[in-house]
Assembly symmetry: C2
């Protein structure tokens, strides 16, 4: 999996890519952290014995991956910048742009993961976090009167899940759930509106979120898991009317 394990694989990589790898190695060797400075352009030109253009292309490669940030001016230059969750989501979305995901696929994952997240968060949240979730869940107390309004409620619901995912101690679990919330939001924003609001299901969804907040506050892990599992069933019902396939666009940062 690592480059060092494939000596005879690709003997022809462009010089900018090689330089980018050397810079990465340079950073790892020194165990540089988030804000630490890299050598400036002219220093890298000498360090790697390549031209300015090559160095700049290498820097753009690392920048595109979110590994560095570059500024102009004195004290400027490139610094190590940890990859943001947003950047990681965008890069991963590029992959699924070509993979033809369906709503059913995403809900198969959500059914498996969201209850797990709910259970693991029970009793671990601060009062502020609980309050924020409660506020999100209490928005839109009235049933949606139009398809447009239903769309807003749907997005608000996804914000609730996205926020929840940010609280996860398990960063992998949190990332995957947040990624799915992003995909569904993106899809909701750009979808056609053609179905009337389903009042019964929406009110059920709202009740679930409020009950979930209570269970999280009370530290009842299994109760939270159960509620979230029910909630996923409702959410899936609401999404089933969508087209099967999605992600026909790139995400921005």
């Amino acid at each position: 999996m690592d480059g060092s394990t494939t000596p005879p694989a690709k003997p022809k990589r462009s010089r900018p890519v090689q330089v980018a790898d050397q810079i990465k190695q340079w950073v790892v060797e020194r165990d540089l952290k988030k804000g630490d400075k890299l050598p400036n352009e002219s220093a890298m030109i000498e360090l790697f014995s390549v031209s300015k253009g090559t160095v700049r292309e290498a820097l753009r490669i690392l920048e595109a991956q979110g590994l560095i940030v570059t500024k102009t001016g004195p004290g400027g230059g490139s610094i190590v910048g940890e990859v943001s969750a947003n950047r990681a989501r965008s890069l991963l979305a590029n992959y699924f742009y070509f993979q033809d995901l369906s709503v059913a696929d995403i809900y198969q994952m959500r059914r498996a993961l969201e209850p797990e997240l709910a259970a693991s968060l029970a009793g671990t949240l601060t009062e502020d976090q609980i309050a924020e979730l409660q506020e999100l869940a209490e928005r839109y107390p009235e049933p949606a009167k139009s398809a447009e309004e239903e769309k807003e409620q749907h997005i608000a619901s996804l914000v609730f899940h996205a926020r929840l995912s940010e609280f996860a101690e398990n960063k992998l679990l949190g990332f995957v759930i947040g990624f799915m919330a992003n995909i569904l939001t993106d899809m909701t924003v750009y979808r056609q509106l053609y179905d009337p609001p389903n009042v019964v299901l929406w009110s059920k969804g709202r009740e679930h979120q409020l009950a979930l907040v209570e269970a999280l506050r009370a530290g009842q892990a299994e109760e939270a898991r159960r509620i979230m599992a029910s909630h996923m069933q409702v959410a899936e019902e609401l999404m089933k009317v969508q087209e099967a396939h999605l992600l026909r666009r790139f995400m921005g940062d």
Copy 2:
């Protein structure tokens, strides 16, 4: 989530990034697919009214994201190239390089997802695929005699899971499971060896894999789910002796 929804966010993006976005837009507008050609360098220079260096930096950005592939020579130039699973895994691994994942985190995910994958694959595999899995599971019929040999067996076991993930119809589920198998493999390759092989657990793991293959062949979804759930318990036992934190290195492509 999309760039168009953030007007006051970043009014100053570098020209290479702007050009890269324009090229992406150019591709999406024309609904270009995997092998389709982009304009060549000099054409882009005129198209976007920027210099050669700027165009090249933009191309390196897109190349780093896996969105294009560039070749020299007549008929060469840049073409649309769908993001490979490997590339997506590497880019995502860069994110988790900064996130301090633990073995427990990964197994919380595996416990939730691997049984789901096993169940959904039951009865859907071809004879060739079943045969390949069986062959992978039947390797190392003898218990490991050394720590080094145990390492090999561990990696072979992860290859089994990685291969299984590639058969998934749900590309998101498959990707996440494959990603975790990659992380664990990477960790296993570079870990210290200090514990004697646990013969009992290893033989149990092997039996699980063989039984799983049978259940998959027979189309017994719930049996496959049950077996995989047990298997995850065993695998977690074997990994528990590892250090808690991992991913202290970048992955290559």
